[in-house]
Structure formats: C-alpha cells, structure tokens
Amino acid sequence: MTQNLKLTLTAGLWKRVPPFRLVLGLCPALAITTSAVNGLGMGLALAFVVTMSNGIISALRNVIPGKVRIASYIVIIATLVSIVEILMKAYFFPLSEQLGIYIPLIVVNCIVLGRAEGFASKNPPLPSMVDGVSIGLGYTISLTLIGTIREVLGAGSWFGHAVFHESFEPLSFMVSAPGAFVTIGVLLGLQNLFSRWRGEKFIQG
C-alpha cells in the first residue's frame, strides 16, 4: 500500500510529468510562463484543483452514474476553479490580473479531466489525492522551470530580481510566443534524450 502510494507520488515528477511526458496542459504552459512567478502561481492553482477534484471525484465514484460522469466531473472542477479564482482575486490580485483568462480555463484543462477519468474514477480517495498532489507538483515545477528559463534569458531577471549585469541585452523573443515553443521543445527533447540514454521504457503521450 505505502509502496504503491510512493510510486504514485513520484510518477508525477518524472514518469507522468504533465507538460513533457503527458504532453497535456500545454496551452497555459505556453501562454503564461513569461516569468517564473506566473508559472509558480499557475502551477499551484492547478495543483490545488487537481488534488481536490481527484479527492472528491474518487469519493463519489460509486455514486455518479456512468452516463453523466463527465458532466458531473465538469461541474465539480468548475466549482473548484471558481473558488481558486475568487481566492486569487481576494489575496493575490496582481497575479490574478497577470494570469487572466488562464485561471478560468483550468476547467477545460486536459490534465484535470484526464486524471479524473484515468485515475480518480478507478481508485480510492487517498491514492487519488496523492496522484493529484504529484501531478500538480510536477506541473508546478515544470512551469516554474519554463518560466525561469524564459524570464532569465528574456528579461534578465528571476522572480523580479535582476540576475545579470546591466550591460546584459535581454533576448526579448524568449518572452514572446516563439520563445515558449523553443523552450518547451528543447526541454522535452532533453528529457527524452536522457530517458533513452538511461534505457527507460516510456511512451510519449
């Protein structure tokens, strides 16, 4: 049991890490990672939603009739997302302005729905919540990493603090859309290269 939980917990950090190995949730990963703090905020918001929705859906998995399960999941997820949105407006107003439409869009985030359908609907609440935490953490770390790379190279700062000497000329393309594709592509390639070198078995997607 504990062994299984541990496996579930670590899976989200490498074997199932969302934007790279699962290749889900790319829309926010491309759009909002212009700075490390945005990536961190988005990741934590998603981690909260996926953990809570996994827990609730798994607790209700025997009550919800199969034919209306997706509708029920969406209602539950939408409620959680709205709560996150209200909380952010109340306590992290500037961040919520920055993330804008991407917070409400967590409702249709494939990671959340994918974990609900693929894991929470088949497992008891505790492992489901552990799975949510692990996927959420994996997503948070990945988004913060992407945000860090883009912010450091594109704006010469990290979490808003300058890291380079004043003479550094920022590569401004890194904070615009092409920079996001390049960063994610390179990171994805590196992860695959590393996995292949270690002889890991993996299926992309």
């Binding site: 919800i64 034919k67 029920s72 209602v75 709205s82 209200i86 909380l87 407006k89 306590y91 302005e97």
Partner: protein
C-alpha cells in the same frame, strides 16, 4: 427508468451543492475583493488625484446610493473640514465600452482638481491616449457648477484627435459626476461625518 431518475437526482444534487459552496465563497470574500480592487484598480488614480499614497486615502471611502447605482466617493480632510472629494463616474459610450473615471473636486474653491481614468478598453494609440497627462490636465481648475464640454461644442476640453468618441465619453462621465455632486452634496458630507464619528 430508475437509472434515469438516479442520473437526474445525482447531477442536480452535485450542481446544487456546488452552487451553494460558490455562493458562500463569493459572499464571504466579497469585502476582501473590494479592498483589493480599491488598492490596485482605483489606487493609482486616487494617488494622482490626492497626491498621497493610496493606502492613506483608501479607508476614506463612502458609498452613496444614487437611485439606480451605488457610487463610491473618496475624500480627504484638511483639519476638520472635508477639503477634496474623488467621485467615481462612468463615461458611457466609449469606443470600446464604458470608461470608469474618477473626478477630483476641491470643495473649498469649488473647482475640479483633475480627471483620472480608472479603467478603459479603448484602442491603443487613439482612445487609450485619455490616460496621457496632456489630456487629463485640461480638467484642472474648471468650475464645478458649470458643465464641461468639448471645444467643438463651445467648451473647454480639446478632444483627442482621432478619438472624439472617447473624449465625448470622458466629458459625459464628468458631467454625470458634477450633476451627482450637485444633487447629493449634503448626503455625501453627512455620510462622511457619520463614518468619521464611528472611527
């Protein structure tokens, strides 16, 4: 049959509980959200109007019921008397929707201290130029008893070239605030003194 009934019941129950939770969260956190909106959205405009850090003036706020809408009014005291007001107004009919404005009123000299834009969605480079000091400065020192108007209509305000609609909305919003001041001045001062007594 029972399968269908179960589906309906379960889905309705889930939806009902979710709405209840959301309503609670929304109502419970509304005051906190209002505070944050004041600080981050209205704050910069108030800072320029009052020439003071926003945190000092944000608590000087009264909300006046003006029939169909509730209008937030911020104030500043000079000794015992209320010296300056900032009245929020809506400039209807901007090019990209309504503008939210803040009109500064000096009660001692009965003159306007300025017009600030709280939020707008005008075209960058055209209507969005209402934010520029050059345009907003025209409000300083205008009398509060007289309506403002664009120069084309014999008034004092030069419209932004290429953005007459936006300029007209700003002027309209100002006149609304001035009218509101004329009709509700006593009420505003009364609410302010009530609030001051409490604290």
């Amino acid at each position: 049959m029972s399968e269908i009934v179960r589906m309906v019941v379960v889905l309705s129950l889930i939806a009902g509980i979710c709405s209840a939770v959301l309503t609670m969260a929304n109502q419970g956190l509304a005051p906190q959200i209002e505070k944050q909106t004041d600080l981050y959205v209205r704050g910069p405009a108030l800072e320029r109007l009052f020439d003071k850090p926003a945190r000092e003036v944000l608590n000087n706020k009264v909300i006046i019921d003006a029939g169909d809408s509730e209008i937030p009014v911020f104030y500043l005291k000079d000794g015992e008397n209320v010296s300056t007001l900032a009245i929020e107004a809506t400039g209807k009919g901007g090019y990209g929707g309504d503008l939210t404005l803040m009109i500064g009123i000096d009660l001692v000299s009965s003159r306007q201290t300025g017009m600030e834009v709280v939020s707008h969605s005008e075209t960058p480079g055209l209507g969005a130029r209402i934010e520029e000091p050059g345009f907003r400065r025209q409000w300083q020192g205008l009398p509060t008893e007289q309506e403002v108007a664009l120069t084309g209509n014999g008034g004092q305000i030069d419209a932004i070239s290429g953005a007459t609609t936006t300029s007209r909305a700003a002027v309209g919003g100002t006149n609304e605030a001035l009218l509101f001041l004329q009709n509700h001045k006593e009420e505003i001062l009364k609410s302010i003194s009530e609030i001051e007594e409490k604290s």
